[in-house]
Symmetry: C2
Subunit: 409 residues, 2 copies
């Protein structure tokens, strides 16, 4: 029998407790030994549960109980999660977490600490909720060199954009609906400003390319500036607007890492990822594009991913799972690298014939959608160096508005 | 250092050899020890390769060389692969294979043999080529009870159907194109008649539900009867026609297992799986729907999945990966179970007004698409017991043609 402690009894933590306790038979079969929840750490009281007797308020009880071999960290945030996890690893306890903020900020350090103490630090649930993606990336793609990772990593923003696309709802109404349905928090900033997706890009890039990427190194843009006009105009080009997290190896040995609203062609499987679903597409040099899809959040999905990690920790109590990346460095992420891209451009002017003339002169032969009534021209450029396209765009004069978005085909 | 032997130097075998030999550094890093290809078994000669000296023609050299700890079986077919694999496992050698025919026919027996001899028998590449799906199913979904598996499991038929849908090409022309592009074999029966997809359903169902399913237990129907009329008519209902492999737990403890052309709603992510790509959707009781997507075939993709298994065998030389299912039984698959379904129906008659009248009488209130010129009515039924729908359909008289297909929304 292996004793487990759960730190945090919020949405995910209660889900973990319920699966481990209510499905004990199934867990025992998979783990090949009984898994016993000994403690649940939470500052709040939870009377009336079948397992109310397991609650404690003092972390040191867990830390100093040598019979606890696996600790689940589902408190969220960096403090005190970071200190608690570090202490557990140092004491020879394996840790399973769903805390993307912690892994994105401290992953390399905690992985090293786990290795040094011959225990495991697993965090499958930190990316894509219940979608198995980190483990398959690490294991099944072992024979591949991963070159690019592209994902829809935040269910809240995907739900909002989807409502804008399908139901013609504007951003504010879609956000309100997401909040009403419990898909968005009261303070939705972490989602809609792209920070949540940014953390997941950090973790995916670190695992895929072998070196830590810090959140502040990712060019992060949210969806607050995406309008119904953008969504409708994208449709004219056979595209949908998605919040895309992206990381890619560069020829100079560095990488790019971005989160931004992006036009995705309807031919691309990512365009069909709707509602609160997430998807992560991984490009390997041998296997080509592989995609993992599922619910990116939700109590049961996330909790089941944590429990899978717990089972793995139990099964590898004296061995180490191979999951490793090295520390990052300030110049490792190079978002100023001049990539060849296709950009979506939409420009308006009070002088439509002048705008038309400029367009014909600057982007001759590029097909466009004109809306004389709005004084608007929209188009997707040919493939060129980004700097060159932006220089061309700067040739437009007397515009009343200009929108430029990246594309993914 | 671990010595490996490769049995078979066809498309996949040569790919495995090339990855193991040309990317030795990367493989060593992942396997944490050098992996040396000692023998390649093939009856043909391969002069002029950088590794021509490794070829042998006598299986017993591999079998009797105790320094060979891992054997790759990529010969295909059941004989002599079955005898060779069995002998290797009995001799304490782990085996990695891409041979779906072998796993579908003999999986339970070979897994047991591997367990009994404390070695591993891995076969990630047997389903979905380079898509990691079996290992994530076994590991990451450990906390889930899997209830249903739905997949596009054959790239050749998906390519053909896609050409019919997108380019309005008829079946014969699309098949000829697939052959010309090397996606279909000269004798395409195994693909277009559904046998290849059937074997993958067997393996997925066995792993997902814990009990072997034999190919002859799967209701298998290919795509040879799918016409351009079907494809066009499906489009009227917002659907595409896909060859869907499906396995599902039944309330009676048994399962259904089928392969058949199916109308898939365009809202479903599976409808966006185009060309030679495959996708497997797994429904878990905790995690909901999770989908794995990628190239289902091709030398590099399949070979890289085999190599990942080799690496796993090397890393677990003294341990066993948990991958297990028990033997099947004759009554385990119950395809006569009367499920609640929605069926697509298209009927034609020389007497269109009689057909209309019958339709109004038998399926009142169900919306349909009428084509008076063709004397045709097409519709998708409401959800009802399959037996009841079929009984209703049998009420149509004097039809000149009748097509009934299953649906997946």
């Amino acid at each position: 029998m292996i004793n487990v402690a759960i730190m945090g009894h919020g949405v995910v933590g209660s889900g973990v407790a319920e699966i481990l306790i209510n499905h004990a038979d199934r867990i025992t079969a998979k783990a090949q030994t009984p898994v016993n929840v000994k403690y649940i750490l939470d500052l709040r009281d939870f009377p009336g549960l079948s397992y109310s007797d397991k609650f404690i308020k003092d972390f040191n009880i867990i830390l100093n109980d040598d019979s606890v071999k696996v600790v689940v960290e589902v408190m969220g945030g960096i403090n005190p999660a970071y200190d608690f996890v570090k202490s557990c690893l140092l004491k020879g306890k394996s840790v399973a977490t769903s805390n993307k903020e912690l892994v994105a900020a401290k992953g390399a350090e905690l992985i090293k600490l786990a290795n040094d103490n011959n225990v495991n630090f697993l965090f499958e649930a930190s990316v894509g909720g219940g979608i198995p993606v980190l483990r398959p990336m690490a294991q099944c793609l072992a024979a591949n060199e991963i070159t690019e990772i592209t994902g829809i990593l935040n269910g809240t923003t995907n739900f909002i954009l989807n409502k804008m696309i399908v139901d013609n709802m504007d951003f504010d109404a879609a956000l309100a609906l997401a909040q009403q349905k419990g898909f968005a928090e009261k303070n939705p900033a972490a989602d809609i400003e792209g920070h949540d997706a940014c953390r997941k890009v950090c973790i995916l890039a670190a695992l895929g390319f072998g070196k830590h990427v810090y959140p502040e190194q990712v060019n992060t843009e949210g969806i607050t500036d995406v309008t119904l006009d953008d969504v409708e105009s994208a449709d004219n080009f056979g595209c949908v607007v998605k919040l895309i997290g992206h990381a890619k190896k560069l020829p100079n040995g560095k990488i790019t890492a971005t989160v931004r609203p992006t036009l995705v062609g309807r031919d691309c499987i990512l365009s069909g990822v709707n509602g609160v679903f997430n998807a992560i597409m991984v490009r390997g040099d041998q296997t080509g594009d592989v995609m993992f899809y599922g619910k990116g959040a939700g109590k049961e999905a996330t909790a089941s991913a944590v429990v899978a990690d717990v089972i793995d920790c139990v099964k590898h109590i004296d061995a180490r799972k191979y999951l490793y990346w090295e520390d990052g460095s300030p110049d490792y992420v190079d978002n100023s690298y001049d990539e060849t891209v296709r950009l979506y451009v939409r420009a308006t002017s009070d002088n439509f014939s002048e705008l038309e003339a400029q367009y014909e002169a600057i982007f001759p032969g590029v097909s466009c959608v004109k809306n004389k009534f709005r004084g608007e021209i929209a188009f997707i450029t040919d493939s060129e160096k980004e700097s060159l396209i932006k220089e061309k765009i700067s040739g437009f004069k007397n515009l009343t508005s200009l929108k430029v978005l990246h594309t993914f085909f």
